[in-house]
């Protein structure tokens, strides 16, 4: 078990979070959940010139396929809140395409749960 489960005190880092996010607030909870899948939008001719280094970095990591919001945060080691804000900005700017998870509904759940169960049986016997 890693020590990361314990609370730890650390410096806020060289660049403050509010600088990276340009002072924007957190997006709506439903807009970018942990498991919303994202990928870079198809080539938009040329990339907007005014992207910050962090925006470039996140867009870059999304350019080769779909990843969840959580995975993007995990790979970049940026705090989740920061990642969600930057991704929301990039999505609004048309740089990213998102696939939100389906809203909870009993009927949808059943179909998905059956699929998960069958998938687990197939994979693990």
């Amino acid at each position: 078990m890693t020590a990361s489960e314990e609370f730890e005190l650390s410096d806020a880092g060289l660049v403050r979070a509010y600088v990276i996010t340009k002072g924007r607030g957190l997006p709506d909870d439903d807009q970018l959940s942990l498991i919303t899948l994202l990928t870079a939008a198809p080539e938009q001719g040329q990339r907007a010139p005014r992207l910050s280094p962090e925006e470039e970095r996140l867009l870059d990591i999304c350019s080769a396929g779909y990843l969840s919001v959580a995975e993007i945060a995990g790979h970049t080691r940026l705090p989740l809140g920061v990642v969600r804000i930057i991704l929301a900005g990039l999505t609004e700017g048309g740089h990213l395409v998102t696939r939100p998870p389906v809203p909870r509904a009993r009927k949808a759940d059943r179909a998905i749960l059956e699929e998960v169960l069958n998938g687990l049986y197939t994979k693990f016997g």
Binding site: G25, L34, T36, A64, D109
Partner: protein, 203 residues
Amino acid sequence: MVSTPSSADGQRLAERDYVQGGEAQTAVKILVVGHFAVGKTTFIGSISEIEPLSTEETMTRAAESVDDLKGVKGKTTTTVAMDFGRLTISDRVVLYLFGTPGQLRFVQLWEDMARGALGALILVDPERLADSFAVIDLIEQYGLDYAIAVNHFDGNPQRAEAALREALDLLDDTPVVTCDARDEKSSAAALTTLVRFLLDRAS
């Protein structure tokens, strides 16, 4: 200049790091929770198709009840990590497993994790049953259906299920399974038990 996608430590992301067939995938999640050092990360690692990842929420100590970013003024921050893995179920469904310790104060993190989750697998150490109470409470607060997986460490005599049910004050239909979180098949069997239970509940 466009560089190749890479992670924080400069390693290039491989094709397998991305969600296969992402344009057609629906993402779902199941929580794997339990007290400190009960084996959550081991469990997730044993069945995840990717190396388990970790992400953190940062909050100022002085403003824990305030949104993390709005409060970032002070010099010290409190960090809590959550670990997660991924399992591509089919060409339509990709399953994420999220694990975090049950510390009550990180409510924002819990809300992010619990919202929309199919259910929760609660890992329990038979020698430290009392440590699981807070976690079970939290899962019940969020209204999530759950199963109990007793992580059976070597040498421990298997505690009688009836005694464990009584100690944890479980409902009769709450599934209890024994598993070895280090073993892929054993972890998968515990997960299967949970999903079968969730399916019963959804009928």
